[in-house]
């Protein structure tokens, strides 16, 4: 569903992502793991089209979107949930959801997002800026779902959340696979990510150092070597 080949990112003269290759099938969850500064966020931003210095091939459901600006890539089926539970703080919960709304096969709409996150329904008229971190993360994921994406890119969705919330959020991300969406999950919290991932890609210094099935990655020496655990 998501095929990335030869992705390179340059910031001015410095080359930060090198010939990256990633494939995520529909209904599959690929965990992108690595230390802080390994290039996970830059990789995601390159895929969604936010970096002018990115080159390489990005395909969504077989369609080459490499030359498209970010908004067109989003419409082609990529939903991006940036780190920090980013929402539009001056917009209401409902407006935050509606802004990304697009029709699609998965049939996500406001009602279904509220079924998934009942807490948000009670806050529907509230400004997003006044929500707690966990609520804003739900809203960020809900907004991504409203676009009925083929591919979801999540950047550190558990960062800064209370352990209980982390748990249920990761479980939920695992369940989203069943709707057929391809998920690329960048996480520092490798234990949580590996619980729901099918495969894991380990990043180091802007390169993919290793790709393994998640079952093998749990407790493997790769964790030790690359993540320094």
């Amino acid at each position: 569903m998501l095929d990335v080949a030869g992705l390179n990112v340059r910031y001015g003269k410095s080359h930060v992502i090198f010939d990256l290759e990633l494939h995520v099938a529909g209904g599959e969850l690929l965990a992108l793991l690595g230390r802080n500064g390994a290039g996970k966020t830059t990789t995601l931003m390159g895929i969604v089209g936010l970096l002018p210095g990115a080159s390489g091939r990005v395909e969504v459901a077989g369609r080459d979107v490499s030359r498209w600006p970010a908004y067109r890539r989003a419409r082609s089926g990529i939903a991006y949930v940036p780190s920090g539970a980013r929402c539009f703080p001056n917009l209401t919960v409902v407006e935050n959801l509606e802004i990304a709304s697009a029709d699609g096969e998965a049939g996500w709409n406001r009602e279904r997002v509220f079924e998934l996150f009942p807490k948000l329904e009670g806050l529907r008229g509230n400004l997003a800026g006044g929500l707690s971190g966990g609520e804003r993360q739900m809203l960020a994921v809900g907004r991504a779902l409203m676009s009925n994406p083929k591919v979801m890119l999540l950047d550190e969705p558990t960062e800064g959340l209370a352990p209980v919330v982390v748990h249920s959020l990761i479980e939920l991300v695992g369940q989203l696979k069943q709707t057929g969406v391809a998920i690329l999950l960048a996480e520092q919290n490798h234990q949580m990510a590996l619980r729901v991932a099918d495969r894991a890609a380990f990043m180091e210094k802007g390169m993919i150092a290793e790709q393994l099935p998640a079952a093998q990655a749990r407790g493997s020496e790769v964790l030790n070597r690359i993540l320094g655990i």
């Binding site: 067109r72 001056n90 676009s147």
Partner: protein, 296 residues
């Protein structure tokens, strides 16, 4: 001062506040979404005033004014789109000084073009018949056109509010104010949205210019005259806030009206505006209704 006089001056102040609100709302909207202080905003207002006067005097009677107003808004909207696409897009990422110089350069080009096309002399136009009469209340004569200006400003304020809070376009504009990058990855063409916002801002400048034209002499210095007051209003009310713009315009309009109508202060009525502005800057640099600028 008798109560009747008080009311007369207050209505005069409201009429001044009316056109200043329309113009400043455009400036504020553009700043809120695009983070650009448009030094050429007064130029768009001036161009619209000249177009309205020329068209209205050519076609005559009432019909001429309304046609002039419509043409002025359309022409200014087109100029706005061209400016946004050719100039502003290249300077969004630059520092404030470059943006100020860029739009200031545009205002100089516009000033030159206006002198070239319309000459340096002042022009006037009669208000359209339907609003040219006067009302007699308590022995004082109120100009019908002043009432028309106030009504226009109220309608435009409601229109801007409905646009911002009741339409998808307005929701996207408000989203662009807080996080354009997130808006972009949510599937909204932010470049096109910026053009639309600038065209709306230019349209508001044009409406202000067209509406003010029958109430004062239209000349080649009205670009800076209005820009200075619009900045004062923005500073007092808070740049980027529509409510603040309305309150700021009311304060400035009334201060000018009462200042001009008092024999001791009419020489320096405008000075009071800047004294208030300086006071607000000292106590609340982000304005009465604005928010302190923060880095996202």
């Amino acid at each position: 001062m008798s109560p009747g006089q008080l009311l007369l001056f207050a209505v005069g102040g409201l009429a001044t506040a009316a056109y200043l609100f329309i113009v400043t709302a455009g400036l504020s909207l553009v700043f809120g979404a695009l983070r650009i202080i448009n030094m050429a905003h007064g130029s768009l207002y001036m161009i619209a005033a000249f177009v309205t006067v020329v068209v209205a005097n050519r076609l005559g009677a009432s019909f001429g004014f309304w046609t002039g107003l419509l043409l002025a808004v359309m022409l200014t909207g087109v100029i706005g789109a061209v400016i946004e696409i050719l100039v502003l897009r290249r300077i969004y990422k630059e520092e404030h000084l470059v943006q100020l110089l860029g739009t200031y350069a545009l205002s100089l080009v516009a000033a030159g073009a206006v002198r070239l096309f319309f000459g340096a002399s002042y022009r006037t136009v009669r208000p359209p018949d339907i609003v040219s009469g006067s009302l007699n209340i308590g022995g004082f004569r109120y100009s019908g056109y002043a009432v028309f200006m106030i009504a226009s400003a109220v309608l435009i304020a409601i229109g801007v509010y409905l646009l911002l809070y009741r339409t998808a376009l307005g929701r996207n504009i408000r989203a662009a104010v807080s996080d354009p990058e997130l808006l972009n990855v949510s599937g909204v063409n932010v470049s096109r949205l910026y053009t639309t916002v600038f065209v709306i801002g230019a349209g508001l400048a044009a409406l202000g210019g067209a509406i003010v034209a029958p109430s004062q002499a239209v000349g080649a210095s009205m670009d800076t005259d209005v820009l200075v007051l619009a900045f004062a209003i923005s500073v007092i009310g808070g740049l980027g806030s529509i409510v603040g713009t309305a309150v700021g315009a009311l304060i400035v309009g009334e201060v000018i009206s009462f200042g001009l109508n008092n024999q001791y202060t009419n020489q320096f009525a405008i000075a009071f505006v800047f004294i208030i502005m300086a006071a607000v800057l000292t106590v609340r640099p982000w304005g009465l209704f604005g928010r302190p600028e923060q880095e996202l």
